[in-house]
Symmetry: C2
Subunit: 255 residues, 2 copies
């Protein structure tokens, strides 16, 4: 099983990800937000690259069953319903809604992976489920870190490294790692004892703290706190089918 | 002193490097080759991005005082005089010559930094001199790793990390590091005890061994073996002036 990590979406183009198995990581915060939104009953997430696309895609249904979420410079976009903080995506806010998500890095990386064979959204909150999914697929994977405006982000790399670590523990498989995957693993081993300290000290963590989102940092390093698996299918991100079924059964009211 | 490391030239464009202080690292092998060539008396190195540029720039003087060096897929380009192995750039081959250098990654990164305020070429062979130079300039620096075809390369990142370590030892200065610089430092601390093992196991090291250049790996991790400082000035890379003078004095024959 070959694991290629890319530290930034600019290092890999759409054609290279076509028909590949892809994991997209944006710990701060698109991946963490998507996981929270789907856990809280959002119908689907539609990642887009630009504000113009978000407005176009939401169309006439905007505000009714369709919400616009996302950020520029970490802050909510004018005319949008939601920003990019997982804490905003409560059941009350998102249940049953389709959410057009437009963020600077994460949704751009997800759009780039739209022709993947399989694409799952990963963060610390759902990481074990992501590793389980990769084992289930049992094929080579590309892990794309969203980074920050084409740059390397420590928190995404550490998360990629934890995926490598989880896969390496699930014996039987020989992992073949590219240089970035090896590095991600080294970073995970360096920082795993205090992920909160790591995320508070990294570039984007410090930026988010500075604009009032320090509470998000704690949420975003909680391991396996939201065990759901967002999967892309036809430009739309939904919970993986088995899980949707289970949720439906749980929610069904007795006659 | 702010140190921003970029793991690939695609993460930073020419305009962002304009008027900045820049270090370009391509351990395997453009930086190591440039250092060897200038130590062995090459007059200057002219980095170019494409084979077409190399042919154009070398013009009518080709073969006389102008040589073409470089590689595609690690191998010498048809119609060129030299490949990209430091061992080819002997005194006999390069003394007094201008060398048009066209490599897949390193020379491309150097061309991208052509409007920098200061640009020095770094590798393990001249690393202490690079750190001295940075201290002398005493301003913020961008360290651009050449990587491999837009991807992250472990050996360049470890070299960047050693620069961070050397700077951090030179007291007095408070270093401000971006996420990539922090990561480079972690990698240096992880691999510094056995750089040869690291370079033999990294992606490009294994590739080069596979096409017959294993000997280059050993040369390219020798620390401070070639203490010269290549500096870009007007699209041309030469030894830093003071050194050129010193070399001239050393070489001057008594009357």
């Amino acid at each position: 099983m070959k694991i290629d990590v890319y530290f930034s979406p600019v290092q890999v183009d759409e054609m290279q990800l076509r028909e590949k198995n892809v994991i997209v990581i944006d710990v701060l915060r698109a991946s963490s937000t998507i996981v929270a939104a789907l856990r809280n009953g959002a119908r689907e997430i539609i990642p887009v690259s630009t504000v113009e696309s978000a407005v176009k895609v939401s169309g006439n249904l905007f505000g009714d069953v369709v919400l616009r979420g996302g950020e520029r410079n970490g802050k909510m976009i004018d005319g949008f319903n939601l920003g990019n903080s997982p804490s905003e995506y409560t059941e009350e806010a998102v249940k049953g809604k389709s959410i057009i998500l437009c963020t600077t890095n994460g949704s751009v990386a997800m759009v780039r992976a739209r022709h993947a064979k399989n694409m799952a959204v990963a963060c610390f909150n759902n990481i074990s489920l992501v590793a389980d999914f990769m084992m289930e697929v049992g094929e080579d994977f590309s892990i794309v870190c969203a980074g920050k405006q084409s740059l390397f982000s420590l928190e995404d790399a550490v998360c990629a490294g934890m995926i490598v670590k989880l896969l390496s523990e699930r014996d039987s498989l020989m992992l073949e790692l590219n240089d970035a995957a090896v590095t991600a693993h080294v970073l995970y081993k360096t920082y795993n004892k205090n992920l909160l300290k790591m995320i508070k000290s990294c570039d984007h963590g410090r930026y988010l703290s500075g604009i009032g989102f320090e509470d998000d940092l704690k949420l975003c390093v909680e391991i396996d706190s939201i065990p759901v698996l967002p999967i892309l299918a036809g430009n739309v991100i939904k919970l993986k089918k088995e899980e949707t079924k289970t949720a439906a059964v749980t929610e069904a009211k007795p006659d």
